[in-house]
């Protein structure tokens, strides 16, 4: 992400806050089992996992937020199918951190409810680092609650 697109003085993410990870991929969850798959929380190659701060929002409002600020802003807009929620603490306990107010999809303008989750083991660490990222993503997926649109 280019410098300068974060919202200045964005409010830090509170550990008790609920954050949501949206997906347009029906392979990211097992509907029949009500399970979030590990891939849903596996970070992309740039190691910034996109989440939205949805504390206090209803499911309907959360779905609208996800569609407007995530699904519609992909390079090819797609329908948001589901989201998974966890408390921020579940992420920070594994050494992850938040960059609040960052852009969901550069160069789309930053959004106050968006945050990137950073602090993942580096790509340069090879397959062993990948396995650690799988472990962290798996723990998040285990703790997450699945919401279908």
């Amino acid at each position: 992400m280019p410098d300068g697109v974060e919202i200045a003085h964005a409010v830090p993410v509170d550990p008790a806050e609920v954050v949501a990870r949206f997906t347009i991929n029906d392979g990211h969850y097992a509907k029949s089992k009500g399970k979030v798959k590990t891939a849903m929380f596996s970070p992309p190659s740039h190691l910034r996992l996109s989440v939205f701060r949805v504390e206090g929002l209803t499911d309907a409002t959360t779905a609208e937020l996800g569609q407007a600020e995530f699904g519609d802003k992909l390079s090819v807009p797609k329908k948001v199918l589901a989201w998974a929620t966890v408390t921020a603490r579940k992420m920070t306990v594994h050494g992850l951190n938040f960059v609040p107010g960052s852009a969901a999809q550069p160069p789309i303008p930053a959004h106050a409810r968006h945050a990137d989750v950073v602090g993942w083991p580096a790509i340069e660490g090879g397959d062993l680092a990948k396995s650690k990222r799988l472990e962290m993503a798996g723990l998040l997926a285990e703790a997450a609650t699945l919401h279908l649109v």
Binding site: G27, A30, T38, A39, S42, V76, S131, L134, E135, E142
Partner: protein, 166 residues
């Protein structure tokens, strides 16, 4: 046997090559064996679940074989990754729960095995024989590592972790 089926079941591809040199009879026997094997597999509950995972794999390959399939810069699932994932799935031993598959942003395919009351094992299959994996078996029972898959047997550490899922 069609070429697509040969590609999808790599262990048979080798056999097919050798049987071609044996002539038409060999090809016929091979084809009938292949059909019978598939029928046997789909006739039981276990293989039914594996067949479902095969379908999942084919769907992933169909949807995710182009760059940026997720609109967020994802790497494509390549033919080689698809074939490696097919071999991994075919190596799935009886008695273990069937995996659930996902495409990953980096072009790999992850296999998730879920415990009945929680916990999971996730293995990530790409083009190479290296398989990064993680096992979450309960509180304080978490591990990760890298195993080698040689094409015919799910690595022991991964297999043992799946067996430990409640």
């Amino acid at each position: 046997m069609t070429s697509a089926a040969t590609e999808y079941f790599p262990p048979f591809a080798d056999y097919s090559s050798s049987s071609r040199s044996a002539g038409d009879v060999g090809r016929l026997v091979h084809g009938e064996f292949f059909i019978a094997f598939r029928e046997m597999r789909t006739s039981t509950a276990l293989w039914g679940e594996i067949h479902s995972a095969e379908s999942e794999l084919q769907a992933i390959f169909a949807k995710c074989s182009n760059p940026d399939w997720d609109g967020d810069g994802a790497a494509p699932i390549t033919d080689m990754t698809f074939q490696q994932a097919s071999r991994f799935l075919l190596s799935h031993p009886a008695g273990l729960p069937a995996p659930s598959l996902s495409a990953e942003h980096d072009g790999r395919i992850s296999f998730d095995w879920f415990g009945r009351v929680g916990g999971r094992v996730t293995a990530s299959v790409g083009e190479s024989s290296s398989i990064p994996y993680a096992a979450i078996l309960g509180p304080g029972r978490v591990k990760h590592g890298v195993e080698q898959f040689m094409g015919d047997r799910i690595p022991d550490d991964i297999r043992d972790s799946i067996r430990k899922l409640a």
